[in-house]
C-alpha cells in the first residue's frame, strides 16, 4: 500500500522538489521585489545553500551508515578537508587585497611565514581545487578505510576509532604550524573565479550550484544503492559474515562506499566554505561529526530522501532555536538523539511512510486483526 503510494508519486515528488530548490527558490530571490510575500531574502537563500551542502554530506553518511551499517563519527574530517581545500583557493584568490597587502594570506603574514608553503601553491588553480575537494578527502578516507576495514574493525570499534580520528584531526588543524590558520581557520574570502564573493548574484550562483550538485549526488547515490552492489551493502549491514562466506570481500565494498561518502562530504565542505565565508577547525571536530549522524537519523537512515530531509530539518531547527532560545538548543539536540533512536528509528521518512497505515488503523477500529506483516514484501531502501 505505502509502497504503491511512493511508486506513484515518488518520482514526481522528487522532480518537484528538485525544481523547487534549483529553480524556484533562486528565482524568488532574484525576480521578486523585497516587499513581495513570495520574496526569499538573500540571507534565507544563503542559509538554505548551507543546508543543501549539509544534505550532500548527509547523503554520503547515509550511504555508509544507513545502507552499510558502518557508523562513522568522523565525517566532519572529510567535510573539513574539502572545505579547507576550497578555503585555500579562496584565500589565495583575494590576491594582495588582504589587510597586510601581501600576496600571502593574512594569517600567514601574521604568523611570520615568509613564503607560501608548498602545499598551498597548487590551490591558485581553480580546476585543481575542484579536483582536490573530491580526491583529498577520498584518498584520506581510502587510506584510513584500508587500515581499518582490512582488519575487520567494525561496529562500535570503528565508530570509536573514527571519533578519535576526528579528535586528532581537529587537534592538528588547530595548530598554527599546519599553516592553515590555526583556531581561526580560513576566512576573509573576497573573490571566487574573479567574481565578488559577497555579491548577491555570486551567492545565488553558489546556491544554485549547491542545489544542482545535491541533485547529482542524489542520483549518484540512488544509482549505487539500486545496483547489485547496493544490495551487497545492505547485505553487509544485515549479515556481514554471510557476505564473507559467500565469497565477497566486504572490506572492499566498505572501502568503496566509505570513499564515495568521504568524497561527497568533501564536496559538501567545498560548497559550504564560500557560502558561509569561513571554515574553522570547530566545524570538523568530534561534536559536529556526531551531529551529522543525527541529521541522518532524524530524516530516516537507509533512505536517501531521509538524509536530505534530516539535514535540512535539523539545521533549520538549529538556526531557529539557537537564535531564539540559545539555552535550549542543547536540550533539543540531546532530546533529539534520545527520542529519534527510541521512537523514530526510521526517522521522519519512516513516520510519513507509516502515516497511511496509522490512518487506516484509526478508521477501521472494528478490524482488530490488523494488517498482516507479510503485506510489505519489498526490500528496504528507495
Amino acid at each position: 500500500m505505502t509502497k504503491r503510494l511512493e511508486e506513484k508519486f515518488g518520482g514526481a515528488f522528487l522532480i518537484a522538489a528538485a525544481l523547487f530548490f534549483v529553480v524556484i527558490m533562486p528565482s524568488l530571490n532574484a525576480f521578486t521585489s523585497p516587499d513581495s510575500a513570495l520574496h526569499i531574502s538573500g540571507f534565507t537563500l544563503n542559509l538554505f545553500g548551507k543546508f543543501l551542502a549539509y544534505a550532500i554530506l548527509a547523503l554520503g553518511l547515509d550511504l555508509v551508515w544507513g545502507y552499510t551499517g558502518i557508523l562513522s563519527l568522523g565525517h566532519g574530517v572529510f567535510f573539513g578537508l574539502g572545505a579547507y581545500c576550497m578555503g585555500m583557493y579562496l584565500s589565495l584568490a583575494i590576491g594582495a587585497e588582504g589587510v597586510y597587502k601581501s600576496a600571502l594570506p593574512d594569517f600567514l603574514v601574521w604568523n611570520q611565514v615568509k613564503e607560501l608553503p608548498l602545499f598551498w601553491k597548487p590551490f591558485y588553480s581553480f580546476p585543481f581545487t575542484l579536483l582536490a575537494v573530491v580526491t583529498v578527502p577520498a584518498l584520506f578516507a581510502a587510506g584510513f578505510g584500508y587500515l581499518t576495514f582490512r582488519t575487520r574493525i567494525r561496529g562500535v570499534y570503528f565508530a570509536i576509532i573514527t571519533q578519535a580520528l576526528a579528535l586528532s584531526v581537529w587537534l592538528v588543524f588547530n595548530r598554527n604550524e599546519m599553516n592553515l590558520g590555526g583556531t581561526n581557520g580560513l576566512t576573509g574570502f573576497k573573490k571566487i573565479l574573479g567574481l565578488e564573493l559577497n555579491s548577491a548574484a555570486t551567492q545565488r550562483g553558489l546556491y544554485i550550484a549547491t542545489a544542482i550538485v545535491l541533485c547529482g549526488a542524489y542520483l549518484l547515490c540512488r544509482w549505487i544503492v539500486s545496483s547489485r552492489a547496493g544490495r551487497i551493502l545492505l547485505a553487509i549491514r544485515d549479515a556481514e559474515n554471510r557476505v564473507l562466506y559467500s565469497g565477497y570481500t566486504p572490506s572492499n565494498y566498505k572501502l568503496f562506499v566509505f570513499t564515495v561518502s568521504a568524497a561527497l562530504a568533501g564536496v559538501a565542505g567545498a560548497l559550504y566554505a564560500p557560502q558561509v565565508g569561513i571554515i574553522t577547525p570547530g566545524r570538523i571536530g568530534v561534536l559536529p561529526s556526531i551531529e551529522m549522524v543525527i541529521w541522518v537519523a532524524v530524516g530516516g537512515r537507509g533512505t536517501l530522501i531521509g538524509a536530505i530531509v534530516g539535514a535540512i530539518t535539523v539545521n533549520w531547527a538549529r538556526s531557529y532555536l539557537t537564535s531564539s532560545f540559545p539555552d535550549y538548543w542543547l536540550y533539543f539536540q540531546g532530546g533529539m538523539f534520545i527520542l529519534v533512536v527510541h521512537f523514530m528509528p526510521d526517522g521522519i521518512v519512516g513516520l510519513v511512510r507509516r502515516l497511511p497505515e496509522f490512518a487506516k488503523k484509526l478508521m477501521s477500529k472494528r478490524n482488530r486483526s490488523g494488517p498482516s506483516p507479510s503485506g510489505d514484501p519489498s526490500a528496504a531502501g528507495d
Binding site: 565508530a159 561534536l287 536540550y331 539536540q333 540531546g334 527510541h342
Partner: protein, 585 residues
C-alpha cells in the same frame, strides 16, 4: 529459593560498596598522615656574643657610630636580626635599663594602657623573643623607662638594601621547608660571602634532608666565587657530589663549556667542574626518566580510572556510554558542592576533610544519575550498541546544559585540601605531587575494589552471570533487570570517582567530560572489551606513551601518533590486547 536470590542481590551490592568505601577511607587516612609535615623545632635563640656586642653599640649618641653598628649588623645577613633592623627603621627599638642592670637594646611591642599609664611589652633584640618577668609572664615596662634608639633618614637609607636581603634570609626561619629551600636558592644567587656563615648555622639546625642539601648547594655556589682556588675546587667537587641541579649553569661556565667564556682560571677547577657537570647531567637524565615514568603513571591512572567504569559498562554490558565523561563531570561538581557545604556550614579547620566526604558523594551522585539513565533509557537498548552510543550522546548534551544552567558556563574553583597540595620529594629534582600520588593510589584501590567486587562477592558473581548468559541467569532466579541497573550504576559511580579525582588536577567545567571521553574509549578498545586487565594495561600504557612522546613532539602530535599506533595495533589484534579468541560464528 527465588525469593532468597532476590534478597541476596539486594543486600550484597551494598556490602560490596561498603567494603570498598572502607578501604578507601583507610587509604585516605594514610594520606592525611603522610601530608602532615614535620614542623621545624624552635631554633635556639642564644645570642652570639659578638653580635650581642655589636647590638649594644647601637645604644650610642653618635649618629655615625650608630650607623656603623646598624650597617655592620645588617651586613651579617643573619635573619634573626631582621626584627631588630625593622624595629630600628620603624622607631620601635629602645634602650632599656632594668633596675640594677646594664642598659640593653630591646624591641618594643604595641603599647598597652593600664590606668593612665602606658606600658610596653619588650622583646629580645636578637631573637625577637618576648622578655619575661620573674613570674614567667611577658614583661611590661612603663613607657618612660625606655628610650628610643633613633634612626634618622641616613641610617634608614644605609640599611635598606640589607633589610631587603634579610627579609629573604628570614625565610630560612619559615616552618615550611619549601620556603626555606627557595630562600637558600635566592641567597646563593646573591653570592655574598657573608651569607655563608648564616647558611652554615642554619644548615646545622636543618631537620629536612632535602633542605639540607639545598643549603649545602647554596654554600658551595657562593664559595665557587671565592678568590681562593682551593675553596673553589672544594665547592665544585661538593656540587658534583650532591648533584646540585641549580648549579649546573655556574658549573658549565666554570668548566669553560659556555661560549665566550674561558671558564675558571685554575685548570684543576675547570676539570673538576667538567666532571661535576657530567655527573649532574647523568643524574638529570635519571631524574627526568623517573619523572616521565611518574607522569605517565599518573596520566595512565587517570585514564584507568575513567576506563574502569567504561570497561564495566561497555565490556560487561555492551553499552557505549558516551555520557561517561558527563558522569565524571557530575562527580567533579559533586566535589565542588561538598566543598561549598564545608565552606558554608563547617568550621574552617575541618575544610581539609571535605575531599574525603566528596569521594563517596561523587560516587553516589554519578551512580544515581547512571541508575536513572539505565532504568529510563538504556534498558531498552541492550544489544544495540550503536543506538546506545547515539542516545547516551544525547544524554551527555542534556547533562552538560543542565550543569551549565545550574553552575554557570565558567569553570568552578575546586580547592585542593592542604594535605593534597605539595609533593613528596623522592630524591633531589624529583617531586611527586600528592594529588597525583593520590590519583595513582585511588586508581589502584578502585581496580582492586572492582576486582574484589566482581570476583569475590555474590553480587559480582551475579553481574558476571547475567552478562554471560542473561536467559540462564534469569531462569536461575537472578533478576537481570536489577543487576543491569546496579551494574550500570556502579560503572557510573566509578566515573564519578574519576571526576572527583580529576577535580584535583584539572579544571572543573561543563565540558570536562568531552575532553576525556575519546581517550577513555581508546583505552577500552585497545585493552579489549570486557577485560578489566586489558583496561588496566591499556590505560597505563597509553598514559605512559602519551607522556613519553609529549616532550619530543608536543601534546597534539603525541596524541595523533598514539591514535595511529592504536590503529596499527588493532591491525594485529582487532579485538584488543586481552580479548579472548572467541569460538563459533
Amino acid at each position: 529459593m527465588k525469593q532468597a536470590g532476590y534478597m541476596a542481590l539486594r543486600l550484597t551490592p551494598k556490602s560490596g560498596l561498603a567494603r570498598m568505601m572502607k578501604a578507601l577511607s583507610v587509604l585516605l587516612l594514610v594520606f592525611c598522615i603522610m601530608g602532615i609535615q614535620g614542623t621545624v623545632d624552635a631554633r635556639a635563640a642564644q645570642t652570639p656574643s659578638e653580635i650581642q656586642a655589636e647590638i649594644a653599640k647601637l645604644n650610642t649618641k653618635s649618629r655615625k657610630k650608630r650607623t656603623e653598628a646598624a650597617v655592620s649588623l645588617a651586613k651579617r645577613g643573619d635573619p634573626m636580626l631582621l626584627s631588630l633592623l625593622l624595629a630600628l627603621r620603624e622607631g620601635s627599638l629602645y634602650a632599656w635599663k632594668p633596675a640594677g642592670g646594664e642598659a640593653r637594646v630591646v624591641i618594643g611591642g604595641d603599647a598597652v594602657k593600664r590606668g593612665d599609664k602606658e606600658f610596653l611589652p619588650l622583646f629580645e633584640a636578637y631573637s625577637n623573643a618576648p622578655l619575661l618577668d620573674a613570674l614567667g609572664k611577658p614583661l611590661l615596662v612603663p613607657i618612660d623607662q625606655v628610650k628610643e634608639i633613633r634612626a634618622g633618614r641616613r641610617i634608614r637609607r644605609a640599611i635598606r638594601p640589607y633589610v631587603n636581603r634579610l627579609k629573604n634570609s628570614a625565610q630560612l626561619l619559615s616552618p615550611d621547608p619549601n620556603i626555606r629551600r627557595a630562600a637558600s636558592t635566592r641567597m646563593a644567587r646573591l653570592g655574598d660571602p657573608n651569607l655563608i656563615s648564616v647558611l652554615r648555622k642554619f644548615l646545622a639546625a636543618e631537620p629536612h634532608w632535602l633542605t639540607r642539601i639545598a643549603f649545602e648547594e647554596a654554600i658551595a655556589l657562593i664559595e665557587m666565587k671565592s678568590v681562593d682556588a682551593k675553596v673553589r675546587l672544594a665547592a665544585v667537587r661538593e656540587l658534583g657530589e650532591i648533584n646540585g641541579l641549580n648549579a649546573i649553569g655556574d658549573l658549565k661556565t666554570a668548566a669553560g663549556l659556555v661560549a665566550g667564556n674561558k671558564g675558571d682560571t685554575d685548570p684543576a677547577v675547570r676539570a673538576e667542574a667538567k666532571a661535576a657537570v657530567d655527573e649532574i647531567e647523568y643524574y638529570l637524565g635519571w631524574t627526568s626518566f623517573i619523572d616521565t615514568i611518574f607522569r605517565g603513571a599518573s596520566l595512565g591512572s587517570i585514564f584507568l580510572l575513567m576506563a574502569l567504569g567504561l570497561a564495566i559498562v561497555f565490556g560487561l554490558m555492551g553499552v557505549i556510554n558516551m555520557a561517561h565523561g558527563e558522569l565524571m563531570m557530575i562527580g567533579a561538581y559533586a566535589t565542588f558542592v561538598v566543598q561549598g557545604l564545608f565552606i558554608s556550614y563547617l568550621p574552617e579547620n575541618l575544610f581539609g576533610f571535605y575531599f574525603i566526604l566528596a569521594l563517596p558523594a561523587a560516587f553516589t551522585a554519578a551512580g544515581l544519575v547512571g541508575y536513572l539513565m539505565e532504568i529510563s533509557v538504556i534498558r531498552h537498548l541492550y544489544g544495540r550498541p550503536l543506538e546506545t552510543l547515539l542516545t547516551t550522546w544525547g544524554i551527555s548534551l542534556v547533562l552538560q546544559q543542565v550543569v551549565r544552567q545550574v553552575f554557570g558556563a565558567q569553570n568552578v574553583d575546586v580547592k585542593a585540601p592542604s594535605w593534597l597540595s605539595g609533593g613528596y620529594h623522592l630524591i633531589i629534582g624529583v617531586q611527586f605531587p600528592y594529588n597525583r600520588l593520590f590519583i595513582i593510589v585511588l586508581a589502584a584501590v578502585c581496580v582492586a575494589g572492582t576486582y574484589l567486587f566482581l570476583f569475590r562477592t555474590r553480587a559480582g558473581m551475579r553481574i558476571r552471570a547475567v552478562t554471560q548468559n542473561r536467559e540462564m541467569s534469569t531462569c536461575l532466579g537472578v533478576s537481570s533487570r536489577r543487576v543491569d541497573a546496579w551494574t550500570f550504576a556502579s560503572g557510573a559511580g566509578l566515573a564519578g570517582l574519576a571526576g572527583a579525582a580529576l577535580s584535583q588536577v584539572g579544571n572543573v567545567g561543563p565540558d570536562l567530560g568531552q575532553n576525556y571521553i575519546v581517550d577513555s574509549f581508546m583505552v577500552v578498545v585497545t585493552g579489549g572489551v570486557g577485560k578489566l586487565m586489558g583496561a588496566i594495561v591499556a590505560g597505563l600504557g597509553l598514559g605512559g606513551m602519551n607522556k613519553l612522546l609529549e616532550p619530543a613532539m608536543g601534546a597534539v602530535f603525541a596524541k595523533v601518533v598514539i591514535l595511529i599506533m592504536v590503529i596499527l595495533f588493532l591491525q594485529r589484534r582487532p579485538e584488543g590486547l586481552f580479548a579472548t579468541r572467541a569460538r563459533g560464528a
